[in-house]
């Protein structure tokens, strides 16, 4: 079956612009996660959704970062007023339920000039 998909694959933007990253989880998966992977660093947790609710937002690095999920499916991660340090690969994962194995998408490579 179809895996987790993310769009765009790559995004180049100018400092100060807003960007939106999209994640389509595996069909039927109720849990959805966003992580960030910077060069030379491990994956860093950003936010977790169960259904449309986000019980854990502890990893969002600043109030420029926000995310929403609608219809218990698609999620959008928005970064406002992008900074160069936001450059990274943003990975989305989904799992059948809370606490189960997480399956990752291919990621969105964000470059802020």
């Amino acid at each position: 079956g179809a895996g987790v998909s993310q769009s765009p694959s790559n995004k180049v933007t100018e400092k100060g612009k807003d960007v939106e990253l999209r994640c389509d989880p595996i069909s039927g998966h109720t849990a959805l996660y966003w992580y960030r992977q910077s060069l030379g660093q491990g994956l860093e947790f950003l936010i977790y959704f169960q259904g449309n609710s986000a019980p854990d937002k502890s990893g969002l690095p600043s109030d420029r970062f926000s995310a929403e999920r609608t219809g218990g499916s698609v999620s959008t991660l928005t970064i406002q007023r992008t900074q160069q340090e936001d450059s990274a690969v943003y990975l989305c994962a989904s799992s059948p339920g809370q606490g189960e194995t997480q399956y990752f998408g291919p990621g969105t490579r964000l470059l802020v000039l």
């Binding site: 987790v4 849990a31 996660y33 992580y35 030379g40 660093q41 491990g42 994956l43 860093e44 947790f45 977790y48 169960q50 019980p55 854990d56 502890s58 990893g59 990975l91 994962a93 809370q98 606490g99 194995t101 997480q102 399956y103 990752f104 998408g105 291919p106 990621g107």
Partner: protein, 113 residues
Amino acid sequence: EDQVTQSPEALRLQEGESSSLNCSYTVSGLRGLFWYRQDPGKGPEFLFTLYSAGEEKEKERLKATLTKKESFLHITAPKPEDSATYLCAVRPGLTGGGNKLTFGTGTQLKVEL
């Protein structure tokens, strides 16, 4: 604070030369240790989940084991197609952050002919 340390950072093997990758962890109440494989430009691909000390899982040339402080990923008679970065992650159980994974920085494996 939950921590995951992987060693070595990089490993170069000849085809057929068996070896092991190490993942040491500190976590509040382990509720799962995960191994993923990540190819360049792609998202992590799930390999194994281990839940308790003494547990072992195998898939083709890979075998994962778990103790109370570390996990090993044993690679038997590797082939060039096993070249990838191998990531270890833990899910904590006692601190309320039980739905996010804490990742190590990975071991970059290269298998040469």
